[in-house]
């Protein structure tokens, strides 16, 4: 595995150096976090001793096969789970409960409130969590709805929208709050392949616009390479950090370096026998 690491062209580094420095300046630090959850008859260790840090304007991807605890990890950053050991800090404050400084975008299409129109859905957290005056909230909401190209659907109810449009609303809702970090839990996984590609492009355009910080969970290596500038590779059962890929945005599709990186990551993730899916 070490050999594989050294052959990487885009700098998959060993995890220890990747976040050894700058822990105090980081926007988000996850330090030696172990997460466990209970099923009716099991105590499952989802992640063990996971550490990483996210800087301002990172597009940080948690990548790994199913069972590596990447969604659980994101939920812990969201404040929905308390680590058994280790700590999570955002801007130096410990994460204790869910809050609007970490807006979530979920995979499920039912994350929009069906009793509110698109505009009201985007405005709602601005009103209840940011306590903005109505006019200001509406202006900001319309602004972000324009950004995700849903201007004409602003007064529609969610059930009349397609899956891709619903996810765009969720992204607009998250971004309109201007959170410290946007947490995206496989937001495009339930979309068809064509919509999915389009949404990835649009997400990157949005990032060019506003340079927001995002943590993005996916199990698609190609998606990870396309979206991110840093990737954290997790191994399953229990989830442990396997490697970190930096400067992913230097990989290009036209000269084949993205394909090479994808192959390298694939080999790294599935190098050990018994971890094939």
């Amino acid at each position: 595995m070490l050999q594989a690491t050294q052959r990487m062209t885009h700098g998959i580094t060993e995890t220890a150096d990747a976040h050894g420095q700058g822990a105090s300046r980081s926007l988000l630090t996850v330090d030696k976090v172990t997460l466990r959850y209970k099923t009716p008859n099991l105590l499952v260790t989802a992640t063990e001793d996971v550490s990483f840090s996210v800087e301002q304007s990172d597009r940080f991807v948690l990548l790994g096969p199913s069972g590596c605890g990447k969604s659980t990890l994101l939920k812990a950053v969201g404040g929905y789970m308390t680590p058994v050991s280790g700590s999570i800090h955002i801007n130096g404050r410990p994460v204790k409960k869910p809050g609007a400084d970490r807006m979530m975008v979920f995979q499920e299409f039912d994350q929009l409130l069906p009793w509110k129109t698109v505009l009201e859905n985007v405005m709602f957290p601005l009103l209840v969590a940011r306590k903005l005056p109505r006019a200001e909230a509406e202006e900001r909401a319309r602004d972000y709805i324009d950004k995700v190209k849903l201007t004409r659907a602003a007064d529609s109810y969610p059930h009349t929208l397609s899956g891709g449009m619903k996810q765009r609303v969720a992204i607009a809702r998250g971004m309109a709050m201007q959170p410290d970090i946007l947490l995206m839990d496989e937001p495009f996984a339930a979309l068809d392949a064509l919509t999915r590609r389009q949404m990835q492009d649009e997400l990157l355009q949005l990032w060019d616009d506003t340079k927001f910080t995002v943590i993005f969970v996916t199990h698609s290596i190609a998606e990870a390479i396309k979206i991110s500038n840093r990737i954290l590779l997790l191994s399953p059962h229990p989830g442990r950090v396997k490697a970190e890929v930096i400067d992913v945005d230097q990989a290009r599709t036209d000269d084949g370096s993205a394909a090479a990186l994808e192959r390298d990551i694939h080999n790294l993730l599935f190098s050990e026998p018994g971890h094939r899916e």
């Binding site: 969201g78 970490r102 979920f106 039912d110 209840v128």
Partner: protein
């Protein structure tokens, strides 16, 4: 090796684009369109049944057993005109609304407790399991001893008939709210009562509405039945009493008129009031199963 090619369908540019629309979409005949409206079909059914009623009653010619439809309607008109029926309806509706509102409010209180505390959940589950199978009307004799012959006994029975149906459905609705929506609510920093009112209640509204409808149906039937047993409260009875009183006077057309009024009010509330609410809420939101 040959390169991939895209070959356009040959008729894309050449054909006449709209020439075949008539074959694809054809208008239905007027009769077929009208017959497609369910309200029309049901109205026709009611007219046919009314005619059968009228014909049979005329043939039977026994107003004491089975008055004609026309007699019933005339009596109904007279009783409306002399103010007896409106007064009876008003008495019934007053008691009904008092009991319904009080029952719903209690149900709201119980479910909010149940969703926030575990002991509240246990309490609600135990109470609904015990009292839901008990027909509210069976509490009437007891209520009469406790509260006397008056509106308060009726209200007590009504509360009992509304409370458990509404609480049970609301609680089930709360539990059925998807995990994603709950997490969204948490994400907005909503907790306690504002979380319940802003996320759970609208998200569970289909179940809540079902509970309100069942509660209404129970309450309406229970109230008419209770008034039949004893109806005089503060000198004036309700609709059930109107039916009972006229039976004693052998004024059978008035009995029929009373029954018809009960049906009409029930229909209006169930089909107009609740359907209007449904159309403006869960149907508009796409939440109706």
């Amino acid at each position: 090796m040959a390169n991939p090619q895209i070959i356009l369908a040959s008729d894309v540019t050449t054909n006449r684009p709209h020439s075949n629309v008539a074959e694809v979409e054809q208008k239905l005949g007027t009769l077929e369109l009208v017959w497609g409206i369910s309200a029309v079909r049901k109205t026709v059914l009611i007219i046919v049944l009314a005619l059968i009623w009228q014909a049979y009653a005329v043939y039977l010619d026994n107003p004491l057993l089975f008055p004609t439809l026309s007699d019933t309607l005339i009596t109904m008109y007279d009783r409306f005109a002399d103010g007896v029926l409106p007064a009876r309806i008003w008495t019934t509706l007053q008691v009904l609304i008092t009991g319904y509102v009080a029952g719903t409010a209690l149900a709201a209180l119980l479910t909010i407790l149940a969703i926030n505390t575990r002991i509240g959940t246990d309490f609600l589950e135990t109470m609904t399991a015990m009292f839901n199978p008990l027909p509210a009307i069976s509490l009437l004799p007891l209520a009469l001893i406790w509260f006397g012959l008056g509106a308060s006994s009726l209200v007590f029975v009504l509360i009992h008939s509304v409370l458990w149906a509404v609480a049970l459905n609301t609680h089930a609705g709360f539990l059925g709210v998807s995990r994603t929506l709950r997490m969204v609510g948490g994400n907005y920093g909503l907790t306690g009562l504002s979380y319940v009112l802003r996320i759970l209640v609208p998200a569970a509204f289909p179940s809540i509405l079902t509970g309100l409808k069942i509660g209404w149906a129970f309450a309406w039937r229970t109230l008419i039945a209770a008034e039949l047993v004893f109806g005089v409260s503060s000198g004036q009875g309700g609709l059930g009493w109107f039916i009972f009183e006229n039976r004693n006077l052998l004024d059978i057309p008035a009995v029929f008129a009373g029954l018809l009024t009960v049906i009409i009010i029930g229909l209006v509330v169930e089909n107009l009031v609740f359907q209007t609410i449904e159309r403006h809420t869960i149907q508009k939101w796409g939440m109706k199963e």
